[in-house]
């Protein structure tokens, strides 16, 4: 028991967000009389999380290297509007339009990265200026008709469509079941493989019973999720895109030299520089990645709304930053995981979704979101202190 509590305390940083998520789920299920947990709403919730999760993934990298990006909300709204204009007003097909928008994001990232890393302006200032400018640009772009409707079927499928079902068994979509099963097996395989590797090197591993409990618990959660999705329309394209983004950037952080350099710079920029790492280059890369992901989030949102409106993207930066902090990014840099930020984004999206279901106005919603952001950072600082003391 003593060992278990020690283990828990050591990993509280990782479990905290799961606890928060569980509390939110139980709370909203009770407050909405079960609507929150209905298959239809869960499917909806995942698609709402999509664009926040994509932003939170990029924000993770930015926060690790001790920067911040306040512009992602209005930039995603503005880039969504650009996509809408290209498709609706200029009749450009969806795929080229998407590529143009992503490239535009990359260009803005290059400019931000240059201003922050080379010129030496604090990222807070650069992206605050960006936030204000993009708000203006968004209003300018949508000025003529207010909302720009998108009728392109392919484009609208991204935020609203589902992967082909290949029929149903007992009311459940086949493709979802197959993907779910493969997913669980792969998850178990990789977990066991990693544990064995660690053992081989005589690294510390959690006790076998604990490991097994973790496997069973997470597999059960995935199964539950898969069943809920399979009852409904199955796996959405948004979920596929988010999964890809999380996989790519998680791998980038953990397995590549660039990932190491990002953690190194976040931990101690001067030491990283003197280890032969170019802080300027890495910072520019990170901002390019962030703004490309912002463009992607803008596309996801515009597609989901099937339109671009003057208020598109409002407050997304708050949700993404809060998601990253809840997901374990440290306010002082050097620490953070993309997978954690995904959970954090889910927490924030669940809050929005749940409060929407309860019919709470945006005034209350903003207050609660702000409170949650502060709590996440307080939690970060408290757990860091207790870890240093132990």
């Amino acid at each position: 028991m003593d060992e278990l509590s020690k283990l828990f305390r050591k990993n509280i940083r990782d479990y905290g967000m799961f606890i928060a998520l569980a509390v939110i789920f139980i709370l909203f299920t009770a407050l909405t009389g079960g609507t929150f947990i209905s298959p239809n709403n869960i499917s909806n919730l995942i698609n709402q999380t999509g664009y926040i999760a994509v932003l939170a993934a990029g924000m993770t990298l930015v926060i690790i290297i001790r920067h911040i990006d306040l512009s992602v909300g209005f930039l995603s709204g503005f880039l969504g509007a650009i996509a809408a204009i290209l498709i609706t007003n200029y009749n450009i097909p969806a795929i080229p339009a998407i590529i143009i928008v992503l490239a535009f994001g990359a260009l803005i990232g290059l400019i931000f990265g240059f201003l922050v890393a080379k010129v030496g302006i604090p990222s807070f200032v650069v992206t605050l200026a960006g936030m204000i400018s993009f708000h203006g640009l968004l209003l300018f772009a949508t000025q003529s008709g207010g909302t720009i409707n998108i009728t392109d079927h392919f484009f609208n499928q991204i935020g609203n469509g589902f992967i082909p079902s290949f029929g149903r068994i007992a009311g459940l979509t086949v493709s979802t079941l197959v993907i779910g099963l493969v997913g669980i097996l792969l998850f178990i395989y990789f977990q066991i493989k990693e544990r064995n590797t660690k053992k081989r090197y005589n690294f510390e591993v959690s006790p076998a019973a604990f490991f097994l409990a973790k496997l069973v618990f997470i597999s059960a959660m995935i199964t539950a999720l898969i069943l809920v999705l399979a009852v409904n329309s199955g796996i959405s394209w948004t979920l596929v895109i988010v999964a890809l983004v999380i996989f790519v950037f998680s791998t980038l952080l953990n397995k590549t030299a660039l990932g190491r350099h990002i953690y190194g710079i976040g931990g101690n920029p001067e030491a990283a520089e003197l280890s032969g790492i170019s802080v300027v280059k890495v910072t520019i890369y990170v901002f390019v990645i962030m703004e490309v992901l912002t463009a992607l989030a803008g596309i996801l949102f515009a597609s989901r709304m099937q339109s671009a409106s003057p208020t598109g993207g409002t407050g997304f930066e708050l949700l993404a930053i809060a998601g990253a902090f809840i997901g374990g990014c440290s306010a002082s840099g050097g620490v953070g995981k993309v997978t954690g930020s995904l959970i954090g984004a889910l927490v924030m999206a669940s809050l929005t979704n749940g409060m929407d279901l309860m019919g709470l106005g945006s005034s209350v919603q903003y207050m609660i979101q702000g409170l949650i952001l502060v709590l996440a950072v307080v939690f970060d600082i408290m757990t860091r202190k207790s870890r240093l003391n132990s």
């Binding site: 101690n268 003197l274 032969g276 170019s278």
Partner: protein, 508 residues
């Protein structure tokens, strides 16, 4: 209660941390008006003992008695011990760079009525204080504009302004030049006459012997011995024996049968201008290193030694440099550390925590950071190979830790320094620049680092060693360059060098 001759008696102090007994029945007695040096290896319990004395660890978290001025004390917080007349000055100075000297001296106990500060009175009293600590500088100077030596004295002034009876100095000379040290010691002796008792923690045994009235040695959380140095002369080797529990015959191990080869690195007429400071920091430096040689660079603080290393190693401070840099006879310019590393140069920085290591990451991460290229398999880091490499260098430099997954911030100074060495050994350098390689490290770990240096030299590596410790410079170098105010003021063969000659050149 208590003996009147002693200002402080700490009796049978036991302090436990989860899993470790940091102090195991320590007894520590300080006589009124003496300078008492506390020595011991890192982890011996010196800092823990001082944290108990200053109230950082409140009463109740340890057992044993603290008797100050014949009264038993129970400090619950730092301000309790300050009120009782104890002040502690840490290695990392607690001054505010953007404030003036007089503001710093009275920071936290400002003079005045209520919330309003009487600035005129403050300046007058600050002037008095500066006279007392022999600082002849305008009190309106900002802290960032004075040297470390003066900053150290201002800290003492700050403590004195609180009517301190017992002054604790933690490694006060670690960052000081010899001249500043002498100055500091003179002031400490002066304080003694004014009735202030001093406890000084130091690793520099020569200084300990020169200034201490009493010496207490701690090892593994126990008091080993308390020596009255006014009664008999104490030798360095005697203290070392008590500190490490065994005799180290020669702290500077000898190198035998090393063949010194051709010149492998050279600076000609090297000049550097620092645009931030608006002045030349290096002037017309001629310097060379031969293969298999240990070249020492001596000099006072601020002589430009670290600046020279930085200007060579990728010039991260963006100095404007003139002159020529040759590696194996080929002229090179390095505009980033990456380029210098590619030419097999490595630089172990002076400030391990500040710009040497990534403290929140583990030993493995730090070991491979400077040479990840060698571990890449396509896009990805080969993690098996990485573990293998980290383990190899972990063993080679003798890091003492639970595993290569322990975070570097939790290691002792000596082990951190070994991680820095491991990191650069993995990049397989031909020229290794060591900047103050043993600062703040205990005797045992020092010896290990010297042994590693000799092993490297045996393999044909050349070493540039910047050091402020003259015995180390004399004990380890083949040739010694001396710098002063940005210029090379001399070069000596180790066999002709003496501390006097070096000091003469360093103050030229």
């Amino acid at each position: 209660m208590g003996n009147i001759d002693y200002i402080l008696e700490m009796d049978n102090i036991v302090k436990e941390f989860p899993g470790v007994k940091a102090l195991d029945g320590v007894t520590f007695k300080v006589k009124r008006g003496e300078i008492h040096c506390l020595v011991g290896e890192n982890g011996a319990g010196k800092s823990t003992l001082m944290k108990i004395l200053s109230g950082v660890y409140p009463a109740g978290t340890f057992s044993g008695k603290i008797i100050l001025d014949s009264t038993e004390q129970h400090f619950n917080k730092i301000s309790d011990s300050e009120r009782a007349g104890i002040a502690i000055i840490y290695q990392e100075l607690a001054l505010i760079p953007e404030l003036t000297i007089y503001e710093n001296i009275f920071f936290g106990h400002e003079l005045g009525k209520g919330q309003f500060i009487d600035w005129n009175e403050t300046i007058v009293q600050a002037k008095e204080m500066l006279k007392r600590i022999h600082v002849n500088i305008n009190p309106e100077t900002k802290i960032k504009d004075v040297g470390v030596g003066v900053q150290q004295l201002v800290e003492i002034g700050k403590a004195l302004s609180k009517n301190v009876k017992l002054l604790i100095l933690d490694e006060p000379t670690a960052a000081l030049s010899e001249v500043d040290c002498d100055n500091l010691f003179q002031i400490l002796r002066g304080l003694k006459e004014q009735g202030v008792t001093c406890i000084m923690i130091s690793h520099k045994l020569r200084e300990v012997i020169s200034i201490a009235d009493s010496i207490t040695v701690l090892r593994d959380g126990k008091t080993i011995i308390s020596i009255d140095a006014t009664e008999r002369k104490v030798g360095e080797s005697e203290i070392i024996k008590y500190m490490v529990g065994r005799e180290i015959k020669d702290i500077y191990p000898k190198r035998k049968g090393i063949k010194v080869g051709d010149v492998c690195f050279e600076l000609k007429n090297w000049t550097a201008f620092d645009p931030n400071k608006g002045r030349k920091i290096l002037r017309n430096i001629d310097f060379y290193v031969r293969q298999g040689e240990v070249v020492g660079i001596a000099g006072l603080m601020g002589a430009g030694r670290t600046e020279m290393a930085l200007s060579i190693f990728g010039n991260t401070k963006h100095y404007d440099t003139k002159g020529a840099l040759y590696v194996n006879g080929v002229k090179r310019t390095f505009n980033s550390p990456e380029r210098a590393i590619a030419e097999k140069i490595a630089y172990v920085t002076e400030d391990r925590k500040g710009n040497g290591l990534i403290l929140i990451q583990d030993i493995k991460f730090n070991t491979t950071l400077a040479n990840l290229k060698q571990l890449l398999k396509g896009f990805f880091i080969n993690e098996h190979e990485e573990v293998h490499v980290a383990k190899k260098f972990f063993d080679e430099v003798g890091i003492r830790a639970q595993s290569i997954e322990q975070s570097v911030g939790t290691l002792s100074g000596g082990n951190q320094q070994k991680v820095s060495l491991a990191k650069w050994l993995f990049s397989a350098p031909k020229l290794l620049i060591l900047d103050e390689p043993t600062r703040g490290i205990d005797v045992g770990a020092k010896f290990e680092i010297y042994t590693i240096m000799n092993e490297l030299v045996k393999r044909g590596v050349s070493i540039i060693m910047i050091s402020s410790e003259l015995p180390e410079i004399l004990g380890m170098s083949d040739r010694i360059y001396v710098m002063s105010d940005g210029t090379m003021t001399g070069v000596l063969d180790a066999k002709d060098a003496t501390e006097e000659k070096i000091m003469e050149m360093a103050t030229a």
